[in-house]
Amino acid sequence: MQRMACKIAGVHFNNPVVMASGTFGFGKEYAQFYDINKLGGISGKGLTLQPKAGNRGIRIWETPSGMMNSVGLENPGIEMFLEEEMNFWETIEPAKIVNLGGGSIEDYVQGARLITEDTYKRREQGLHGVDLIELNISCPNVKQGGIAYGIKTEIAREVIREVRKATTLPLAIKLSPNAENIVEMAVMCEEEGADAVSLVNTFSAMKIDIKRRRSVFDNGYAGLSGPAIKPIALRMVHQVAKHAQIPIMGMGGIASSEDAIEFIMAGASVIQIGTYNFMNLRAGEEIIAGIEAFMEQENIQSLDEIRGIV
């Protein structure tokens, strides 16, 4: 439907429904269940320069209306992605977002370069390449003793500044809700020339096995997602929308078209669906149809009419 179309940094989305990184692979698996060409966009599984085996031990724990994950960025590495998965991506319509993680600034920069060069090469060949890089700054900063880049604004600034120099592709920064000051963080992204912010990533959280007297996760903490966090994520998106100009990809616990519309009314340009994919394999399709029905019902001609209205 034309009136659902959105644009961020010149990138066209057929509709505001984007699948969140790490929950949707690169889309192939879900294509068995519905036509993923209906989606506005897909943010692929988080990639790092080198392949990663991810964390050992338990990787998932269910919580009341949520789940914690400790996948630890298991991924095949950027080169393997460009060689193998990009060919599949060239065959599908949704906006293509590469989610980029890293341990050092050099890794991030080098990763961004590889993706950018590859896309320009593809475009010369009449192919499409990647639409947008989504920089995941929740990764641990090796130099700072493992504290994530996404906590302190000035530390995040360093990595964003360098990555911004390394790519001419549209660049979104995926913010962590564990940031000390999410508004300040978003304003900084704007200052550093990022094209959008994605928020929120998972909340740092914990589960203790009281019989074994230890964390269930080998890593200690893990990331909380799902409906449980929606009220907090929505508040953060609203706060950022009120205090910064930068376009927002909003997410965190969205599990219905009503939830999605709330994020848009709070100011998100597009929304992302993560954990809800696990609750409903046809989540994307269902949420798009729900937003469409709401627009019909309320006679909304363009999402611009309601975006940021609250």
Partner: protein, 233 residues
């Protein structure tokens, strides 16, 4: 959503659920079940226990919140299921033994129907169940209550051994068969989210790197699994 035909407690905390409909699936594959809308968040992976014309059956043990909710379902209630997922047990080549420990016997009823000439070993903790049903489909059924079923099986006598049960039991059978010619296949239990290979929460540490329990498994050739690093759930 599908309709439940029956859901009976056949032994303490062990339920057999029969659901109406035409279903696909191979031995060792599983479905993701949810009888709720929003809570809990995740669906539960349960092996195919049996498929007949017009129905599918699951055999499950009440363990936590989700299986407790399954146990409350009555005939006529509805339940959502997606599947079949996973690779399932390989087709037989030569003589097959199936070794089920506890609720790990669940997939072998369907498997025994498919390979009636296989020998079936069923190990129970306290109370045996469904033994007569297994006897109707399998050539030979060995049961064992209270002791370890591992003692009963001689891997040398088989070409393939399918195992499903507690992680330690699967590891032990694999060890016992190490110097035999039998190929051991284990059905690993891992917590799952998507069930279809997209989220990587179910990775199994194999000698060649990680594999996904939900699509590359749940059945693995025991020798590919790095049992020193992989400790199940």
């Amino acid at each position: 959503m599908s309709i439940i035909i029956s859901n009976e407690e056949i032994a303490k905390d062990i339920y057999l659920m029969t659901i109406e409909g035409e279903y696909q699936g191979k031995m060792g594959q599983f479905y993701m079940l949810r009888s709720w809308n929003r809570y809990p968040v995740l669906s539960r992976p349960i092996s195919i226990h049996n498929i007949d014309n017009g129905s599918i059956q699951f055999l499950y043990k009440v363990f936590g919140e989700g299986t407790r909710m399954f146990a409350e379902l009555k005939s006529g209630d509805s339940i959502g299921l997606e599947g079949p997922f996973g690779n399932g047990f390989p087709e037989p080549e030569g003589k097959v033994a199936m070794v089920g420990g506890g609720i790990g016997i669940a997939p072998f009823y369907f498997a025994a129907k498919h390979i009636p000439e296989a020998d079936v070993y069923l190990g129970f903790g306290q109370e045996a169940y469904l033994v007569d049903e297994f006897k109707q489909v399998a050539r030979q059924v060995v049961t064992n209550v209270g002791r370890s079923i591992i003692e009963d099986i001689e891997p040398d006598q088989y070409d393939m051994v399918y195992v499903c049960g507690p992680h330690g039991m699967m590891h032990a059978v694999a060890d016992k068969a190490k110097h035999s010619s039998a190929k051991v296949y284990v059905s690993l239990e891992k917590r799952m989210a998507c069930g279809i290979g997209a989220c990587l929460v179910c990775s199994v540490i194999c000698h060649e790197g990680n594999k996904r329990a939900c699509v590359d498994g749940p059945v693995f050739l025991a020798e590919e699994v790095n049992f020193d690093a992989e400790n199940g759930l």
